[in-house]
């Protein structure tokens, strides 16, 4: 076989392999949409489950997931952004900084079920929060931190160095420079990372298993110290724990969860591409 033939064969094989990776993704999404759509209705989204969860809607789980996502954002955003500012603007290249980076890489790699154990040990039992929205938000928030730190740091670092130099040379302090020059320009990138991170958190099941999720709770939570239903756990429950559960409801629930997460991913990439076009440097 000549060298050119080898090249052509390689390209052909690689194209097929790339298709093997990508086609199932499309099939999976279309499959869920196709089988989930018949369940979609206003009542499905706004009614609590009824008749042993085999009828009715998913309203409490939907609300629970939204509440948990907001809670997650409140927990992780201030800390993650402060950490990112520290790493990008203040940290020197020394042993401490390398240790911080090692910690972040490892936080990102800890299995979600281990976060669930930590949340159970630390927030539910030690801090006495009980299985509650507070405990679940703290657990999810800490789990989401590393993603948001990495993307926020990258966004801050992508602001050109001249912006800082000019601001400092005009007599602005370091913090004034960060506050008025760096952060506004880094905002779109930071926003993208946050939405992506929160989208992941919204779809997580393992961290909320022992920290917040209720099997069946038709009424809405009244405070952050109450349990709540959540979509990912609800999907797990109706798929495996409820005998005689109609498949239509299961696919419907999966579709709603998928739509929430994919909408957030989509919004994130929209923010990114719009801001990229507007960028002045």
């Amino acid at each position: 076989m000549s060298r050119q033939q080898t090249h052509r064969l390689a390209v052909a094989v690689f194209t097929v392999v790339a298709a093997i990776v990508v086609v199932p993704i499309i099939v999976v999404i279309l499959y869920v949409v196709w089988l989930g759509l018949p369940a979609m209705s206003w009542a499905f989204l706004t009614q609590p489950p009824s008749n042993g969860m085999t009828e009715g809607g998913i309203m409490p789980a939907l609300v629970g997931t939204i509440v948990l996502t907001i809670g997650t954002a409140l927990v992780c955003m201030p800390l993650a952004i402060a950490t990112a500012i520290y790493l990008a603007e203040y940290a020197q290249d020394n042993r401490l900084t390398r240790l911080i980076r090692l910690a972040i890489v490892n936080l990102a790699g800890i299995p979600s079920i281990v976060y669930g154990l930590f949340g159970l040990g630390a927030f539910v039992l030690f801090m006495g929060l009980g299985t509650s929205i507070a405990a679940g938000s703290l657990t999810l928030g800490i789990m989401t931190m590393p993603v948001i730190i990495s993307t926020a740091e990258e966004a801050i670092l992508s602001v050109p160095q001249q912006f800082r130099t000019v601001s400092l040379s005009l007599g602005a302090t370091r913090w004034q420079t960060i506050r008025h020059q760096v952060l506004p320009h880094a905002l779109p990138g930071m926003l993208t990372g946050m939405i992506l991170g929160l989208g992941r958190a919204a779809g997580e099941t393992a961290p909320i298993l022992f920290t917040v999720a209720a099997f069946y709770l038709p009424q809405l939570p009244k405070s952050i110290f109450d349990q709540t239903m959540a979509l990912p756990y609800h999907l797990y429950v109706i798929a495996t724990q409820v005998p005689g559960m109609p498949l239509r409801q299961q696919y419907g629930t999966a579709l709603v969860l998928l739509l929430i997460v994919m909408t957030m991913t989509l919004v994130a990439s929209l923010v990114r591409s719009i801001m990229r076009r507007r960028r002045e440097w």
Binding site: L79, G109, I113, P146, I149, G193
Partner: protein
């Protein structure tokens, strides 16, 4: 803000001379808070380990090692042999890597070196979408749709290690592809130009020049993919059948139900009373998982340092 935070900030402030009084104090506080936040990641990971130890240490103290390594996982009879769970996790992860490795690396090479730009524009967002699909949704599909297919292939049941591996492989593909692509991208353009200039085909350039130059980055991609696979919980719990036994070695080894460490924690924690040995053992399994992923990620992080300070994460931006 508390007075203690002001104290922390005072030593770190350097350029306050020109600023008027109140603003200066405001900045000192803010910069102090930022410095403290900087080390929060270290504090958090230490806390996670401490809390796991607090609840899980009795497993290592109260159960003889010989029993921990035995093959009998019968928590009701106080038999806590971890071997079947370790074996289950290992089997599913190995299967996932065997599937994901060629798919991921080849796709990364295709996207980075061979694909026309329009294909890249279409394919990369699709792979990003895969990264965003919740594991419970994939697990659910594995449970209702993929398992019957696997059974139709002739396995005694559809809920097998192979079913888990297949789903895990796809779940770790976005990680592997994105990091491997970064690694390929980091290979200097001069290498490619040089090879092409002396008459190599594009394929020879990729195979003999680009891949060897990117090998440490590719290794990192594989390691982080493994780390992702071994810690996955919900999808695996739904599709691997959760039988805590060691399937006999043979050609059908991947087509037996197994039970992983992660699935064991998720399935049993809800049913145990706090403070029982069983409860401690589930936290102990958490410690084992923590240590395994910590080792993999630290090693990968070290390799990143060795291969020229590139960063492993944030490939999306």
């Amino acid at each position: 803000m508390a007075a203690t935070e002001e104290l922390h900030g005072a030593g770190t402030h350097r350029q306050a001379k020109a600023a008027p009084g109140s603003r200066r104090w405001g900045e000192i506080i803010i910069e102090g808070v930022i410095q403290i936040a900087g080390i929060s990641a270290i504090v958090i990971i230490a806390l996670i380990f401490l809390f796991l130890l607090r609840e899980g240490l009795p497993m290592f103290l109260d159960i003889p090692l010989r029993q921990l390594f035995s093959t009998q996982w019968y928590p009701i009879e106080d038999k806590f042999g971890l071997a079947p769970l370790l074996y289950g996790s290992l089997l599913v992860t190995v299967g996932a890597v065997v599937i994901a490795l060629p798919l991921g690396l080849i796709t990364a090479i295709y996207l980075g070196e061979l694909a026309p730009p329009w294909q890249r524009e279409v394919l990369k967002p699709i792979i990003e979408v895969l990264a965003g699909i919740p594991s419970i949704v994939l697990g659910f599909l594995g449970w209702v749709a993929l398992a019957p297919l696997v059974q139709a292939l002739g396995a005694p049941t559809g809920l097998t290690a192979f079913t888990g591996s297949l789903i895990l492989a796809y779940m770790s593909l976005p990680t592997i592809i994105s990091i491997a692509e970064d690694a390929l991208y980091a290979v200097p353009k001069e290498y490619r130009d040089g090879a092409l200039a002396i008459g190599a085909t594009q394929w020879q350039t990729i195979w003999r020049v680009v891949l060897p130059a990117a090998r440490s980055g590719l290794l990192i991609a594989v390691m982080l993919g493994i780390g992702r696979a071994i810690g996955e919980t919900m999808a695996v719990m739904l599709v691997t059948g959760n039988a805590a036994n060691i399937p006999p070695f043979g050609p059908g080894i991947f087509f037996q139900p197994v039970r992983t460490m992660t699935a064991t924690i998720a399935a049993e924690m809800g049913e145990v009373a706090q403070g029982t040995l069983h409860y401690n053992v589930l936290f102990g399994i958490g410690i084992v998982l923590f240590v395994i992923t910590f080792a993999i990620n630290s090693l990968a992080n070290r390799l990143v340092g060795l291969s020229g300070g590139r960063r492993t994460r944030g490939g999306q931006l």
